[in-house]
């Protein structure tokens, strides 16, 4: 009876923490969407909103960290329950990083609003950000539903994001070589593209946590990396 009581108290606490993760995830999804929108429409007010919103995301991570520590100290969970609590902390850490990248994207809006308009680039960036946002939504759903299949699907889709990044990298190079006045804007856009690709990596890390939680096995570490720009020769 005592054990039953302890178990349900733990479950209740864990559920409360998962609700916080979902809240945090919702804020991060919104930050990605609005950050990309601000960039494309050169909306500096919206960009400022995204930047301010990051504080709430950081605050939630801190809260989740503290709650996790409190839960471990209070309930002294054993192996598999402990794994659950630690996964909550890891996922919160990944969400915080994705939020940072979204903030960074928004930060560059006012900067880009001054230079030449590389509109096909910002539209492609928004599509890439949209894909990452959908992946994040599915990764969080897979977490709540403990659905390893959905999580594996998210991991596979990261390759598309990597390919979108590769295409953008080449496009920006071309723009810069065609007209040196595009160089500064393209440097920033390239940066945002790389950050968006990194957001995808963090979403993948969340999905990998889910696979680990459900199956007890880590997904294959050396999955094919489709970002080839760091290893393939580029024409100059």
């Amino acid at each position: 009876m005592e054990e039953q009581h302890i178990a349900s108290a733990f479950d209740r606490d864990l559920e409360a923490m998962q609700a916080q993760i979902m809240k945090m995830g919702g804020l991060v999804e919104e930050a990605i969407r609005l950050g990309a929108k601000a960039l494309e429409t050169r909306d500096e007010d919206l960009a400022l909103e995204v930047r301010d919103g990051d504080k709430a995301i950081d605050g939630l991570e801190e809260l989740i960290d503290e709650e996790s520590a409190r839960l471990i100290a209070l309930r002294a969970p054993t192996a598999s329950d402990l794994r659950l609590v630690l996964s909550v902390m890891k996922i919160a850490g990944n969400l915080e990083r994705i939020g940072d990248y979204a903030k960074n994207m928004a930060k560059r809006t006012s900067l880009l609003a001054q230079g030449p308009n590389i509109s096909d680039g910002t539209a492609a960036l928004r599509r890439m950000a949209r894909e990452v946002e959908l992946m994040l939504k599915d990764a969080l759903d897979s977490y709540i539903q403990r659905d390893a299949e959905l999580a594996r699907d998210v991991i596979a889709r990261d390759e598309e994001v990597d390919q979108m990044y590769n295409a953008l990298f080449r496009e920006f190079l071309t723009h810069m070589m065609e007209d040196p006045r595009n160089i500064s804007a393209c440097m920033h856009l390239h940066f945002i593209a790389k950050n968006t690709e990194r957001m995808g990596d963090h979403v993948t890390a969340i999905a990998e946590q889910v696979v680990y939680l459900v199956t007890g096995e880590k997904p294959e570490e050396d999955r094919a990396k489709a970002d080839i720009t760091s290893t393939t020769e580029q024409k100059v």
Copy 2:
């Protein structure tokens, strides 16, 4: 007596984990140094060595995570001891990210070996990497010695790294505008510069953990960010 016994077992375990953190830190310091050297001397064999070495770093993080979970489950540490164990995990996470950035730097060596030589750029990059490496060494020393002063010093020095990055950003822009044949190489070099600046941020996060551990207070969150390239207008 029983409690005494438990306390020393915990201390022994914690000490073993701190030894693993120091081992991991040593490998990461070396990866930064050799990665920057490979880049400057265009030494593709050395670059390959750095890339292969990252597996050992990742392996240590996994080991530390597992040991932390085992320690929490076995010893059920209370508040302040738990904070110590969680800090070990956070620091291992930061070290793993720094190692990734060093690997990424090495990856771009073979690519840069093909293009024009921007030798003043790679020399400046090596100096920047050297500064980050020294900051990391001090951050780890401050952790082992529980020295909040030294940790605060590390946090302050991150501003210099940010300024080095700003100077490089402008230099690469100039190179690209002077000669379009430099564009591709400078895109990669800019990337490495930004990653090195991010390494500095992760070293700072380690130092902030130390301040928190020693004083119980988090260092001021909104420390002056000296990377101004994402917010300041650039001339095109």
